[in-house]
């Protein structure tokens, strides 16, 4: 065919024209805008509305931020500085309230000379949580993570060190109890012994022993009462304890709900539905108003501890439902495979079922964590001074009466950072644990 072509075409080009630039509408910012902002008339309208909205928001916020006053003793002082600098009535944020009261918003009424303790606790929290979150951190640090909860309580609440050491000793006693029980009779008895021995130790041996040791060797930190705890620290304590405790409890409840043992199943379902069906705030009121009815007369029970327990129960019910979803999503073959390998129930769960089920439920679990952390603000209604409670208290002083947005923005930003970090971490974890081929 080619020779035919050569004979019929009078002119064949021998040199190529150099490649030109793409047309102006098909490159650079113009192309991007045509594709992403103005691809159709409807999109163009949306873009214009969106631009107008953004401009409107920025017009209100930017001057307000730009004119903000960071150092003034009170709202009136703020207004005076504003009138002097920007003119009367100019929009101006008064972030002086944050620079004036940030310690209170973060740490509540914790004695200021002891601020090193919560700060140390926070730094150690980072150290303790790192090996749990990231596998690249040395595994030996997990031992520190295990004792950190007790260390944190001691650092924050203070008092002599003995009760805390004895609590740790109780856990340590559980190990030989399990070994002896398992060797002498059966693994089941070992488990029972491992649970019963520490509890008996804490109930009967710990109080007299720690009392004796404390009077003999009063080593410890200055005690700080619970009502001094407040601000973001309180939210953080309740949130972190709730998160740490609700995951194991939620797993147990989910397994209970999936269990073939009718009684265990019924109890789990009842607990989960009861907890989920009633708002947290009602549970918190129950904890603060009613708990004294259910305990032996004369029992006193720290309010913060009650709140932690209630929040944990509440979150664990949600957690159980999330994990149940993960358990149900696993193919039946996985359960059957575990059975056919001859694994007993706990081994099958620990080695085969739960690792997969938990992996599936990571987004839900982290969402529950985030929900729990946000719900810690509800403690303001039972009189604990969380950031929102403190913002009300700050507003009630004559200096800062009538200040809203600066406080809301500060508190909102604190929660936003924590919650956003958690959701990003869950995405990272999902990415890391993804084993399927894509």
């Amino acid at each position: 065919m080619s020779d035919l072509h050569a004979q019929t075409v009078p002119y064949v080009r021998e040199s190529m024209v150099p490649q030109g630039e793409p047309p102006a509408t098909e490159r650079g910012a113009v192309k991007w805008m045509r594709e992403n902002l103005f691809s159709s008339w409807f999109n163009a309208i949306l873009t214009i509305i969106g631009l107008a909205f953004v401009a409107w928001v920025l017009m209100h916020i930017v001057p307000w931020f730009w004119n903000s006053i960071w150092f003034a003793g009170s709202l009136t002082a703020c207004r005076e500085i504003r009138d002097a600098t920007w003119g009367a009535g100019a929009p101006s944020a008064c972030f002086s309230v944050i620079t004036d009261r940030w310690q209170q918003l973060l740490l509540g009424f914790y004695p200021s000379e002891l601020y090193w303790r919560p700060i140390t606790a926070l730094v150690l929290f980072g150290v303790a949580v790192a090996p749990v979150l990231f596998t690249r951190v040395p595994r030996q640090l997990l031992w520190f993570s295990a004792i950190y909860p007790v260390a944190m309580v001691w650092l924050l609440w203070g008092g002599t060190i003995w009760p805390y050491l004895l609590v740790l000793a109780g856990f340590a006693l559980g190990v030989p109890a399990y070994r002896i029980g398992a060797k002498a009779v059966a693994p089941l008895l070992g488990v029972v012994a491992a649970i019963a021995v520490p509890i008996l130790f804490w109930v009967f041996v710990l109080p007299p022993l720690s009392g004796a040791l404390s009077s003999a060797l009063p080593i410890g930190l200055e005690a700080v009462p619970s009502r001094a705890m407040g601000g973001f620290m309180l939210s953080f304590i309740i949130g972190v304890s709730g998160i740490a405790l609700s995951l194991p409890l939620g797993i147990l409840l989910a397994l209970g709900r999936q269990s073939h043992l009718i009684f265990i199943h019924a109890v789990s379902v009842a607990f989960i539905e009861l907890m989920r069906g009633v708002p947290l705030i009602v549970w918190l009121f129950t904890a603060s108003l009613l708990l004294n009815y259910f305990l032996p007369p004369g029992t006193t029970f720290d309010l913060t501890l009650r709140v932690v327990i209630m929040v944990t129960f509440f979150a664990s019910a949600y957690m159980a439902e999330v994990i149940r979803g993960g358990l149900a999503a696993l193919p039946r073959g996985q359960y059957e495979a575990a059975d056919s390998l001859g694994l007993d129930y706990w081994k099958a769960m620990r080695l085969i079922i739960l690792p997969q089920a938990l992996k599936i439920s990571i987004p839900g679990i982290v969402n529950t964590f985030i929900g729990l952390f946000k719900d810690t603000t509800l403690v303001v209604f039972i009189g604990l001074l969380d950031p929102i409670g403190l913002s009300n208290a700050i507003r009630a002083t004559t200096d800062w009466n009538g200040i809203y947005w600066e406080l809301f923005i500060f508190i909102g930003a604190l929660f936003f950072i924590c919650c956003f970090a958690m959701s990003r971490y869950s995405m990272y974890l999902e990415q890391k644990l993804r084993t399927d081929h894509r």
Binding site: I262, I264, V278, T286, L289, F294, L295, K374
Partner: protein, 408 residues
């Protein structure tokens, strides 16, 4: 060759079988758990009885019939301080339902729009929606409620500004947004035209019934003959046309009662307190952010192949959406959506932050404080929320079972 019996004979029962034999072990564990639970419950109950006796209280719901003696500023049914505590609780329940219903509706609208727009190929709009969703999801709802309440109280004019000297004016000439609340016109029947209003209501009910019948008919037509009847337009016409025609035929029996400034406050119209509006908006926008994510996830869960297959069959985009994408996406969307509605309903108990009189504030708040019946009050309150949740989740499970894929 006879098979080796894998179960020992029954007559050789030994006590150790209770632990080692899987047939008996589950029973042992359950009986043990039952005993532990029974002991714990008995202990709690006994403590309660002792504590109640020590306080000189009894366990009695008679307080529900007593005179409440407190006012409720927003009530859907007639209520005065002379009414009983039981009626106060009912007012609270209705207020909870009101904010829950309003909130669920708005949250669904906001969430659907935001979820769809987040998937839009318009970069700017998608980003704005992302900012909205992340901002609302990661900040406690309580903070939002307080913030909205502050906005409404701080940035709206007081009723006085609507007077001769003020600079505020009514929205559309009929809606007054003030720092006490929003006043909207109230539809009121003309004198002696009460029957006509009921006739209108009856006509609307009949129209709805007709729409349902027509939809069933259209579906049967499609299944038997393949002919697709217009459903949406006809439904719309069936809903509005008879009512509007009847409205004019009956001589316009409804008029609007506009809010008017009288003295220091507005008279007439319906007043929606700022507490209600702040709670409503905050709950809807907060829940809307979660619903947006659910909607987005649901739409993304339908694989692209489904759309392409529908196009290959020659379906138009609107039919593809209605017949292929939505039925599959809804299956993913509905269950978490309902649980978000449940969350919204439960979060409405945060009304305490803005002083909205929901059931927690009446039954669980003032009534308890006045009568000292914490145990009974909290029990009733918990029961109300529990029943509400169980009813909603039961209906969800029912709906779920009707739309889920039928397998094996």
């Amino acid at each position: 060759m006879s098979a080796i019996p894998d179960q020992p004979a029954r007559d050789k029962f030994q006590l150790s079988q209770l632990i080692y034999d899987t047939r008996y072990r589950s029973l042992t564990i359950q009986i043990f758990a039952f005993m532990l639970l029974a002991i714990a419950l008995f202990w709690l109950g006994r403590n309660t009885v002792i504590n109640l006796a020590a306080l000189g209280k009894d366990f009695d719901f008679g307080f529900l019939g007593q005179r409440a003696g407190y006012d409720i500023n927003q009530s859907l049914i007639p209520y005065s301080s002379a009414s009983s505590h039981g009626r106060a609780a009912l007012v609270g329940i209705l207020n909870t339902m009101l904010v829950a219903a309003l909130g669920c509706t708005l949250a669904l609208v906001v969430g659907t729009i935001a979820g769809v727009l987040r998937l839009s190929n318009n970069w700017l709009v998608a980003k704005i929606m992302t900012v909205y969703v992340e901002m609302f999801r990661n900040v406690p709802v309580l903070l939002w409620i307080i913030a909205f309440f502050a906005i409404l109280n701080e940035s709206t004019p007081s009723p006085r500004d609507f007077g001769e000297n003020g600079d505020a004016s009514l929205l559309f000439g009929s809606i007054a947004v003030t720092n006490r609340g929003v006043y909207i016109p109230r539809p009121t029947p003309l004198d002696g035209a009460g029957w006509a209003v009921w006739a209108l209501v009856a006509i609307v009910v009949v129209s709805i019934a007709a729409i349902i019948v027509y939809r069933g008919y259209a579906k049967r037509q499609q299944q038997t003959t393949g002919r697709i009847l217009p459903v949406f337009r006809v439904s719309l016409a069936l809903f509005f046309a008879p009512a509007i025609i009847a409205f004019f035929l009956l001589g316009m029996p409804l008029s609007l009662d506009y809010p008017e400034l009288g003295g220091f406050n507005f008279q007439g119209g319906i007043m929606m307190r700022n507490s209600l509006i702040a709670l409503w908006l905050a709950l809807s926008l907060y829940t809307g952010a979660f619903i947006a994510e659910i909607v987005r996830g649901g739409i993304l869960s339908v694989s692209k192949g489904q759309t392409e297959a529908a196009f290959a069959l020659g379906l138009r985009p609107s039919r593809t959406m209605n017949l292929v994408i939505l039925p599959q996406a809804l299956r993913v969307i509905i269950p978490p959506l309902i649980s978000q509605f449940l969350n919204l309903t439960k979060n409405s108990s945060l009304a305490i932050a803005v002083g909205y009189m929901d059931v927690r504030s009446t039954l669980g708040g003032i009534t308890i404080n006045q009568t000292g019946r914490e145990l009974e009050g909290m029990l009733l309150l918990g029961l109300f929320y529990l029943v509400l949740s169980l009813v909603i989740s039961a209906s969800m499970n029912f709906y779920n079972s009707t739309i889920k894929l039928k397998e094996r």
